[in-house]
């Protein structure tokens, strides 16, 4: 049972060939490109959603920060669609892999930090010491702020990995428990089935919230550095 529980997180292969690249590229075909001024309903809804999200997310940024709109919108669409597709039974979710999430978090976080040091060096260095710190606390606080800076990409990646992985594991466990209890006690199986349904609804919300949180945090790091 333990082997079955973690088998869904193994990198998928088809006849020995890794197909994880295809799985990562798959959500992009679910977002059709608008090719007319006035599009069909599906593309219009997609455009409306993207516009709503981008307006809400990029409103706080100055002109320099708003050059990252395309990147951040692509990020939220990718993570959201990947997480939601992972809720299909027997599917593989790339965002359960820490390597994938670190691969997204480190370049984006480093990009914001380098941008801050390149364009606003004094302000970027000033982030290492909060205003109003007593003099005798300065060395310790600089160390703490440095650690908190370097922990940011790790926290971004681990947060997404842990949330999605934990949700999938719980669904596996409770689904397995429901199946096992059906022959023993149908009433208890019904309760666990209701819990499974509620958990699935929660996982839908978590999938979208985690995409939003990841993108929002990158957006906040960008705002601090622009």
């Amino acid at each position: 049972m333990n082997e079955n529980l973690f088998a869904s997180f193994a990198t998928p292969t088809m006849m020995g060939l890794p197909i994880v690249i295809l799985i990562i590229m798959f959500p992009s075909i679910l977002f059709p490109s608008p090719n007319r001024l006035i599009n069909n309903r599906l593309i219009s809804i997609q455009q409306w959603l993207v516009q709503l999200t981008s307006k809400q997310m990029m409103a706080i940024h100055n002109s320099k920060g708003q050059t990252w709109t395309l990147m951040l919108m692509s990020l939220i669409l990718f993570i959201g669609s990947t997480n939601l597709l992972g809720l299909l039974p027997h599917s593989f979710t790339p965002t359960t892999q820490l390597s994938m999430n670190l691969g997204m978090a480190i370049p984006l976080w480093a990009g914001t930090v380098f941008m801050g040091f390149r364009h606003k060096t004094k302000a970027a260095l000033a982030h290492f010491l909060p205003q109003g710190t007593p003099i005798f606390l300065i060395p310790m606080l600089v160390i703490i702020e440095t650690i908190s800076l370097f922990i940011q990409p790790v926290a971004l990646a681990v947060r997404l990995t842990a949330n999605i992985t934990a949700g999938h594991l719980l669904m596996h466990l409770i689904g397995g428990a429901t199946l096992a209890l059906m022959s023993i006690s149908p009433s208890t199986a019904l309760i666990t089935f209701i819990i499974l349904i509620l958990l699935t609804i929660l996982e839908f919300a978590v999938a979208m919230i985690q995409a939003y949180v990841f993108t929002l945090l990158v957006s906040l790091y960008l705002h601090d550095n622009t």
Binding site: L102, P107, A110, G111, F114, R118
Partner: protein
């Protein structure tokens, strides 16, 4: 500005035509060969399409906006290289180290 296109392979383009002569109707149908590009030009055409549809619209992003992200990707590549080499080193060490004398408890 028209986009420079690789010239397609020259194929004779023949078309259906009717010739009407005095007192006689003549119909001549010649073979119509479709204008196709040969298979050797298709990779160039794919590259052209890639450049036209991806590189041209995204050029300001890739060259100016994302400069720091490319630097971040370099940093990530360096971290990945360090982790992989450390993993390889530890696996080689484990393989070459002798089996401990005492057995499992």
């Amino acid at each position: 500005m028209s986009w420079p296109v690789f010239p397609p392979m020259a194929q004779p383009w023949c078309f259906l035509y009717q010739a009407v002569s005095a007192g006689q109707q003549t119909l001549c149908i010649l073979d119509a060969e479709e204008l196709t590009s040969s298979s050797s030009q298709r990779p160039f055409e794919m590259l052209q399409s890639l450049i036209k549809n991806v590189w041209v619209p995204m050029k300001p992003y890739y060259t100016q906006v994302y400069q720091e992200i490319w630097a971040g990707m370099g940093l990530m590549g360096f971290i990945v290289y360090k982790i992989r080499s450390a993993d390889k080193r530890s696996k080689a060490l484990k393989a070459s180290s002798p089996v401990p004398a005492h057995g499992h408890h």
